[in-house]
Symmetry: D2
Subunit: 301 residues, 4 copies
């Protein structure tokens, strides 16, 4: 290989430097980190378009999301991670995640029989609201196949029984991998995901639970809310972890109810909450605005 | 006693018929109840100014609040209860509560060391927002005596220890009785009320719990909320019953938080929720708008 | 025609008495109305399942919505209106509207180019959330034809220019009539409806305006909101009347924003508001829960 | 004066370096600003505890709030402003505001006859919620003197008529100056502030308007809201500028209402909104979290 001076190399590789880079960082809080990182980007001619940082003083933990334009950035796209690892991550013991706006996340939706969350997601997808690809939908029932077909998205049914669960999930994971799926959305999927699958997609499976967690964990939360006589119901989207309805919360919202509401009207009012809260969480995930730390989320602006 | 014809008697007694009567009713749902009761008031020349009713179809239970002007009402004020009992309550197996707008409820506030709920209540009281008397404030600490004195309300301290609790509560109840107290407001009173006292004031003790119940029951709910990483905090006012934080909920409200909030800022944001939610509940109690049924509240408009 | 005794007639006709009757009433406030009407239903063996009434004391106006089961009701369905007119409406100078749960309202959706409200409505329709028929969709552009086709609903395009507007609206109204349309939903339809058409559908055209009315009337409300620097944006659904964005308000909701929001993110956040607020209004209209009085709505529970 | 080497000077002066410095910055957006400023603080041994920045891409404007601990900061407190001016402000054409946590803002409250906002502020003040001094209260009426006296705060009455307004405001401004007042809170003060006074306190007079601005500007907003038939009412706190109810908005909030609400109940519900919204705005002002730019506020976390 012929030796080229560094600058020439950079200029050549830079042909591909388009769009934005998004860098999420987590490390112990140390004075000077912000200065160093913003300096790194600036001296290399990156134009910072977004910066949000957070210090958890109790945990002495530092979090940052920084987004910059790549157009004139001196370091080629495919080397940025390596440079950052060498120059800063090693030095500060950082975890970091580097994304590019041009790389669309690939989402698989899991559904059962209820259509409201699925429709809400597909309507946004179809209208181009989100920077995402949806290569497939998985279900344990046939019911929503017509919805998938309306939107022209492949629909795969894996019926789940106690006996076949492990095998079916294995098949699902194979399919997910073949489709390059980067995260999963459980859009009222009425099955518990096994620990194996959760381990394969850590903080990459988003669930919607139809209560204001941690109230009314588990089955039939609207019935529980009705029985308790609450005056406000809620919905919670969270990453799935090994403990039921106990993963890191991404988004919550609530709606006021009264004594006049029956379980049925709670279910009706809840549907709107569920779909909006789930879609807000999905949107933040797609935009790489979430960091998970100690079972809680840091959500950048 | 000389016999007087009925109409004359009525006219005489009617001299006192001023203000409004408020009737709260609960019984099994039966066709025709609304017609009978509205008819009873109308033919006796009462002018209905407010009617709200609710049927819990699941429990087959009927609830009603009806308010009418007494000015031309043919039945004297002090006989209405008797008439209603005879004509309707016996027939339908009703429970009913009859109030007059001229009879102010008498409230005792229990406090410990935090002033925000107390100030909010006393400011409203002082501005004449509420149709209530506050003959006294009770505390287990001296701290808020200056606030009581600012507003010229007697302040009684009963220090509570494990050993003296029963005796102190007995003394408190004697004082409440002497002051004609009809309901109690626990304005961040940091003591558990004994079952004896609760039994003496059933659905007449209003507490504010600084969480969105049933989430975060018990001590330090803001710490619990912080640990769980919720995105919304709440406050709940409820009637006190024998089970901790499990009484009938009157009012709830919430506030949005983020990962940037520490326990301290949650406490700050929560204070505003607590005082507003408590005052809304107190206001509804004062206006006789609440019925309790199976550990839930029916709250009339 | 052979004479049949009344009771027999009733029993025969009663074969069709199924479902519920819904009666909306408006008249001057007079003592005894509630008693008379509830009595009328009760003595004729109707089982009242829902009653909500409102008195506007300032305007001395009475409003009521009452719903009862027809199964054992003695008056045949097709005579109830006549009886009610004769017995009560004439006497009290009432306006009244009588509906039957079995008669589905027929809705026409008008759209232009934005799909979010349309998808939200069609997803609910498709999931059977609403007791409504949607025989057709009308647009001034071709853009959303694929969405209509996804859901199998006829899609008619009437391009509107200054010159052809009257003729096109006439054609639209003919089509609406042929399809038995009872109300119209403007789901971000970017055309002003003419007075002729409004007069044909008084309080039967529901619009969604993307601001918290009466703030930001007219064009580009998100731009206006951005310019003014508000901290909360809103959406308003209202019946269309002759004055722009000034018809009776049915439903409003809001979302918090910050200085970080651009016009684009306002538009994004607003979309969710718009679709939910519009659908809530449509749902109330379908359920016959709205009365209009002096350019304001009474919305029954 | 004996010459001392710089470092010694610094060490000596540093004896006073306690608490935090808060720096608010505004300038044209230029690459590298964040890096330079965080670097400046870090190399001088300031520990950044809070950083929030915002870029208005449309206006190409940069905003930043940065807070750091002074304890080990090498530059003495009373020289920081000068250093910053020389090193950065001149270079970037910045406007900047430097505050120290130990310097309490001094607030004067203006009131008329309504007590709810005043009580809310004084209760917080009295409980130590805010880092502020309140040396005096000014009113155009005697009514609230007892409230001021309850809290031991001097109360000055300046009756305002058309004729004496200029003279009275001059006297007020003299009093404000004597008391070192840094900002003014209009707690339902029912007088328009003159342009002279506004010019003396630019973006330093906080008003609460009892509507969701820009809806219902001017007098009697609750009456206007009632007439329009809105379903949500609001309150808006803003800095006062020369145009009525048109100054930069700091905070807004809303409450849901129904057709059952009269003007009176709107006023009641509005009171809670007003006091909370005003207090939130005051709190942000006290914490130096607000920058005003082109009649809008940037509100830092």
């Amino acid at each position: 290989m012929v030796f080229l001076p560094l600058v020439t190399q950079l200029i050549q590789t830079n042909m591909d430097n388009q769009g934005n880079a998004i860098l999420l960082i987590h490390c112990q809080d140390t004075p000077g980190i912000i200065a160093e990182i913003t300096n790194f980007i600036t001296v290399n001619k990156g134009n910072i378009v977004n910066l949000d940082q957070h210090v958890d003083h109790g945990a002495n933990a530092f979090f940052m999301r920084i987004e910059w334009q790549l157009e004139k950035f001196l370091i080629p796209k495919d080397r940025i991670g390596e440079y950052f690892q060498t120059l800063y991550a090693n030095k500060y013991g950082m975890e970091f995640w580097l994304y590019f706006s041009g790389q669309k996340p690939r989402m698989c939706i899991f559904v059962s029989k209820m259509s409201h969350c699925l429709y809400d997601i597909l309507a946004r997808y179809s209208a181009g609201e989100w920077n995402v690809d949806i290569p497939l939908i998985i279900s344990n029932h046939e019911d929503l196949r017509p919805v998938a077909e309306q939107f022209g998205i492949p629909f795969h049914v894996f019926e789940i029984t106690k006996e076949n669960k492990a095998a079916q999930e294995a098949a699902e994971m194979k399919l997910l991998e073949e489709n390059g799926v980067t995260f999963i959305v459980l859009a009222r999927y009425m099955q518990v995901i096994s620990d194996e699958m959760i381990a394969r997609y850590p903080n990459k499976i988003i669930n919607i639970h139809h209560s204001f967690l941690p109230a009314f964990i588990g089955a039939k939360p609207y019935h529980q809310a009705y029985e308790r006589g609450v005056k406000i119901i809620g919905a919670t989207s969270h990453y799935v972890n090994a403990e039921l309805d106990a993963g890191p919360i991404i988004e919550q919202d609530v709606a006021r109810i009264t004594h006049k509401d029956s379980v049925d009207t709670l279910v009706n009012k809840g549907r709107d909450l569920e779909k909006i809260v789930l879609s807000r969480a999905v949107s933040k995930h797609i935009d790489r605005k979430i960091l998970v730390f100690r079972n809680k989320t840091v959500i950048f602006d």
